[in-house]
């Protein structure tokens, strides 16, 4: 009885597995909610570094402002939320 139970894992057809890396997820999130790369119609572009953008996001969401893609930030990015951008442009 001491032999561990063996789990059987199945490949489910049609299962959508998101293979997005943490970095891709972060970049997509920061752009989608207005924290980086705002392009004006005139062509004038305000480019914000990822670290700055992360810091802005962290401040807006009340997280520790580390400017790093840390666990708390990633967790926040994975949480369900409103689709209205935090920084409109």
């Amino acid at each position: 009885w001491s032999v561990p139970l063996k789990s059987v894992f199945v490949t489910f057809p049609g299962d959508v597995i998101k293979n997005m890396s943490d970095t891709d997820l972060a970049e997509s999130y920061l752009k989608k909610f207005g924290y980086m790369d705002t392009l004006h119609r005139s062509g004038f572009q305000s480019v914000v570094s990822t670290s700055k953008a992360l810091q802005r996001m962290q401040r807006q969401l009340g997280l520790d402002e580390t400017g790093q893609l840390d666990t708390q930030t990633l967790d926040a990015m994975k949480r369900p939320r409103c689709g209205v951008p935090d920084v409109a442009n």
Binding site: V8, V10, G14, S42, R79, A88
Partner: protein, 590 residues
């Protein structure tokens, strides 16, 4: 709290709304009620009233949709973004959209309203006992017609109270069949269907024909979601089939067997082993009431708050006993005022509170009733002696600060200052010594401004500031006294805003100072480039001159007019770039 750029708001208090369609996750009456309660959240603290329209154009048009739903802001499937809404205005403005790839509930799992039976439309009670067995979902056990049903108390055997669960075998919604039930099998484009399908539609909604031949009769309706309706997988929202067989074993409820991620799933036919049809089981879902209350906040003019406990915080979290946060109330009352009932239950907007009164310990003579301003030394009356006239201000790469005093432009650098008179033909005067005119000041001035009301001059250097009234000086005092955080090591720019407000810039942030109370206003700091779109975030001087706002960096300046159009100029006043789009919609007003 934050409002949208230029504070858009409804210009009338009797706001109308219209529900354009329904999610199959919830009974329409439950959705109607959730929206009505969500509006009441806001009408309870404002003079606003919300009236539902059943046709025509309402101020707030509410709809459910999936992925691309017609507004160029597609939803992203289950989870992620749940809904969005537009600020007040015409057309799409004011409208609220809900992602129907989410599972909409009241936040605590499926809400199953019964019909028919003997429970007068009561909600299912899960779990319930029937025939000594416990059920956590609707069941068709005990019925030859296979209609799903549930008990509306915890024990059917004892109470005998029951009703029928939403099912396409009972009724449809929408479509053109007045709620008639599905007819199986039915023919669509020559093929026969034995269950609801998404074929022929791009929006992912499941439908069925309500006669045996759609091709001939064109009669259809949308299938209500059962409480066991699956999500994802490969069964297009078919309900779980209990029991189902997986790897030779029979399951009566959802299981996580076979998966490494622990998610609950079920088969949608009697045997997964044979048919390989499956989907994820319904979860707690998202509270339509809470999400709607948030979105309606946007529809009324509120932007996202950074207070975690506020309703307008962008992240979803379920709370059992909801009440509006003070931050939400302050925000909505900033736009619409408080309730006009004889006995208001909430503080009225703009009512001075004790926190608005400056702390006596931190006041000085500048906080006392304003005396008649002493005549401030004007450049024309200065007694400072000119220095080396050959010193050329135009060769200075970067000034310590630039500001306007008495309408003239002043340039400060390393203990010296130059003055440019507002007269058209006036050239820069030779440099003067700061120490002669303002002896209390250090050589390097980071920022300065003249209070337009009292004509007092404020100078900032490092973490200190000085206030000159004519020849009288107060200071140095710590900028922390104004409410600036200790992380601010210097104030790099100052911008007048009306009579009593001045924006102070440092790094990528700015704060709004109430000159009268000598305190930073609530809600600051804000990001400079968020409010002044298109300017550099590392400007080392910011000032207002002849109606234009200037942001300087190195030998360039960004000049913004009142319409926030930007011209980028070099030191020789050649235009480098211009933007007619420097007033991005959605930006906030400082």
């Amino acid at each position: 709290y934050k409002t949208f750029y230029r504070n858009p708001k409804w210009d009338h208090n009797d706001v109308t709304y219209r529900i354009l369609n329904y999610s199959p996750d919830l009974d329409s009456s439950v959705i109607d009620d959730a929206f009505a309660r969500a509006f009441k959240v806001w009408s309870d603290v404002t003079p606003l009233t919300f009236t539902r329209l059943f046709d025509g154009t309402a101020d707030i048009m509410i709809s459910f949709g999936k992925k691309n739903h017609g507004d160029f802001s597609p939803f992203d499937g289950k989870h992620g973004t749940l809904a969005h809404a537009y600020g007040p205005g015409k057309g799409i403005q004011g409208d609220a959209h809900f992602d129907d790839d989410e599972f909409w509930t009241l936040g605590k799992g499926p809400v199953v309203k019964t019909s028919y039976g003997n429970a007068e439309g009561a909600m299912c009670h899960f779990p319930f006992v029937f025939g000594g067995k416990t059920y956590t979902t609707c069941t068709s056990e005990g019925r030859a017609d296979k209609l799903p049903w549930c008990a509306t108390t915890d024990d059917y055997d004892r109470d005998g109270k029951y009703g029928f669960c939403p099912s396409e075998l009972l009724y449809t919604t929408g479509g053109n069949s007045d709620g008639a039930k599905c007819v199986f099998p039915f023919v669509f484009l020559g093929d026969e269907y034995n269950s609801c399908t998404t074929e022929g539609r791009s929006d992912g909604y499941r439908w069925c024909a309500t006669t045996s031949n759609y091709d001939q009769d064109k009669k259809f309706g949308f299938c209500p979601n059962r409480d066991t309706t699956t999500i994802g997988g490969n069964a297009e929202g078919e309900p779980c089939h209990f029991p189902f067989v997986f790897l030779g074993k029979e399951y009566d409820s959802c299981t996580s067997e076979g998966r490494g991620d622990g998610k609950l799933w079920c088969g949608t036919t009697s045997s997964y082993d044979d048919d390989k049809k499956w989907g994820f089981c319904p979860d707690q879902g998202y509270s339509l009431f809470l999400v709607a209350a948030h979105e309606f906040g946007h529809a009324l003019g509120l932007d996202h708050s950074n207070i975690r406990e506020a309703l307008m915080y962008p992240m979803y979290s379920y709370v059992e006993d909801f009440s509006l946060h003070e931050d939400d109330i302050e925000g909505i009352q900033y736009l619409y005022g408080g309730r006009t009932d004889p006995k208001p239950t909430v503080p009225q907007p703009n009512t001075p509170t004790t926190t608005d009164i400056p702390d006596p310990d931190e006041t000085d003579s500048t906080d006392e009733p304003e005396p008649e301003p002493e005549p401030t030394n004007r450049p024309t009356t200065t007694t400072s002696s000119p220095l080396d006239p050959t010193k050329d201000a135009c060769k200075v790469i970067k000034f310590d600060t630039i500001t306007v005093i008495g309408g003239d432009l002043y340039f400060f650098k390393d203990g010296h200052y130059w003055r440019k008179s507002r007269k058209e033909d006036s050239a820069l005067k030779s440099p003067m010594l700061i120490s002669e005119r303002w002896p209390a000041l250090p050589a390097v001035i980071d920022s300065a401004f003249e209070d337009v009301v009292t004509k007092k001059l404020y100078f900032f250097s490092g973490t200190k500031f000085w206030v000159y009234t004519g020849k009288n000086v107060l200071g140095p005092r710590s900028i922390e006294k104004l409410g600036l955080p200790d992380s601010v090591q210097k104030v790099e720019g100052a911008l007048q805003r009306g009579q009593n407000k001045v924006l102070l810039f440092s790094g990528e942030n700015f704060w709004r100072l109430d000159v009268k109370t000598q305190k930073i206003d609530k809600g600051y700091p804000k990001y400079t480039d968020v409010v002044f779109g298109g300017v550099p975030i590392d400007a080392h001087e910011v000032f207002l001159y002849e109606g234009h706002t200037f942001f300087c960096r190195d030998r360039f300046y960004w000049r913004m007019n009142s319409r926030r159009q930007i011209h980028v100029m070099d030191a020789e006043d050649n235009e480098v770039e211009s933007s007619s789009d420097a007033g991005p919609s959605g930006m906030e007003e400082p």
